[in-house]
Symmetry: C2
Subunit: 369 residues, 2 copies
Amino acid sequence: MDRRRVRGRGSGALMASKVVTIEDVALLAKTSPSTVSNVLNGRLDRMRPETQERIQRAMAQLGYTPNQLARQLKTGQVPILGLVIPSVANPFWGAFAQCVEEAARGRGYQVLFGNAGRDPAQEERYAESLWGYGVRGVIFGSSPLSLDHVQGLVRRGLRAVTFDRDTRGADRGVGVEIDSISVDNALGARLATEHLLALGHRRIGFLSGPLRTASRLQRLEGYRGALRAAGLDPHPALVWEGLPSEGFGDVEGAEFGRRGARDLLGLAEPPTALFAINDMYALGAYAGARDRGLAVPDDVSVVGFDDIFLAEVAQPALTTVRQPLREMLRTTVTMLVDRLEGSRDGPADHTVVTPELIVRASTAAREAA
Amino acid sequence: MDRRRVRGRGSGALMASKVVTIEDVALLAKTSPSTVSNVLNGRLDRMRPETQERIQRAMAQLGYTPNQLARQLKTGQVPILGLVIPSVANPFWGAFAQCVEEAARGRGYQVLFGNAGRDPAQEERYAESLWGYGVRGVIFGSSPLSLDHVQGLVRRGLRAVTFDRDTRGADRGVGVEIDSISVDNALGARLATEHLLALGHRRIGFLSGPLRTASRLQRLEGYRGALRAAGLDPHPALVWEGLPSEGFGDVEGAEFGRRGARDLLGLAEPPTALFAINDMYALGAYAGARDRGLAVPDDVSVVGFDDIFLAEVAQPALTTVRQPLREMLRTTVTMLVDRLEGSRDGPADHTVVTPELIVRASTAAREAA
DNA sequence: GACGTTTTGTGCAACGTTGTAGTAAATCGA
DNA sequence: TCGATTTACTACAACGTTGCACAAAACGTC
């Protein structure tokens, strides 16, 4: 009986499609699958140029594309990096994903991404499924405080790098290797706060969503530290945390910022400046100020964090704390791929990058009221 | 000799990692790989509940994750949808990717995305590599005018849907099945232009990057049609196309919009209103107007296209033509998955969705100058 | 022309999973 | 107690590729 393919049977219901295999190529080129495989893997010294050329022609003629699934079934992994982020719909994470993809492409890897909305269960499901596809390296963008949910996978050999999430504590607990990279969040927040203090502001609001990530807590600390250093008492009422039941504002960051600004500016003694947890919140704060009939920067100064490209285009251009995203992610990808390919080993690396304050038009000296 | 794994050899240099296989589970559960496979595939009627439970326990204990690579080697495909877009860094495409991911998840698929920057060669490389991973369904977001570069793959069985790109012409040429979905671009542009005309504007600029996509040309036609219908002669000088040598402004849309607005508003007879090819351009146009010392909407009205979430937050809130992205992409994913799973067949489907004008604060009646 | 040597090419057993075709064990009817 | 059924489970050959170990030419060399 002819053993050639009979596809599309079974319960799976996925449809048939004709696939050109290495064997078809070998047949047409009058050679063996092994030799074709040798061509694919660059072992050209093991054949006559003439043979190679015949194979190349056959491949082109049949439109052959190697089946990566089968190819990597032997090695057990696949040149894909997993990327777990809260939501690509947020311009910050969009730019993030773009930078990761560029850096990965430079190393011959592709990127499989998932929006996990900072939900540990979702992150875990996601990481599990990546593992199942042979993905052995994952970048976690701003995860929840704990990484327990991926420890199992990491123990089994998953290489991970976290962005904006210091994993030093986690390491000690379980002896597991997780690299991390982040900006010095406390410093960034201090820079922003000191800038506002220098402009004469004394009541400075802190505009954040839920404080359940390491980076947000660090920014809060930086803000408080700067206030204390200036002899001011950080007032809890000026810290806006949203409602605990709600999300992190990853999709609706601007909406959160708007509501928060409206709330803070509606206080009996409203702040004269706002430090937002990120640029989307800050841009939302513009709208919130407008809702209260206040102008930026004349009535309220606003500082953001991240320096997304919208910061410069915004009206007025946003003063913000810049994270050098592209460079950071190049480093991240390098760390990860080096570990995957075995050229780096040893204890986890925790890179901390220095942020920079970019002064634009959204901050002004407090009117001598 | 023990045949258990010896990994990490070979030239590939990809590192070892211990992998739990179906056989390990079978061993621990004192049963056969086949039975474990039956559990995995829900054929529970073929075993005692007790056996099933033993297997479940073994899987949990070993932390077993099925190897999708091997699993799908038989079926030849994988529950992943490919997504080819210009750039995730652009908030529109970010939201786009998010919607696709949500819809795909609802159908049990994941999304592998790539930024192709509208470069046909890049798109082709990308589609090839997706094919190699067993991906049999791809969504193309706003591709170049021609789809020749993926025809080969489509003939081999790739299922594709294009967004914002009518493939009717392509079909006739090669008899290949490509579904498409798009908004009625001409109508959207007409709506926008008529709105501006109704406000009394007579010199209306058309702010676009290179006109090398179907959707952009259609929008231009809609704009021209509306002008003609109002008895006006569309003036070529009012159509800004950027420089042909440059990109499409997918990453730097706002920057393009800013430059274009600056150019148009610097004309001897400047327009009093601008219709931007998309919202990022429109937001950039705000900055361009500001550069010229003009205010929106007092001195210039601006209309965008897409209705990205920033449109509402912007200062002033942007009047724009809304594309119902979420619904469109749900339809797109449904079409694609149905084809993949064989529940839909027949000739290509070309869905055209009706856009809606959302009037906000960036347009105003022309001052009776 | 018999022997090494190099060059060029091939056979085969994996990789982890699936589904069919099968066997073994339990149950049943008479 | 014997065959016939049903139930519970398993053997095995794929899927497309890889890389080692091996084989067959081709080429000296004396």
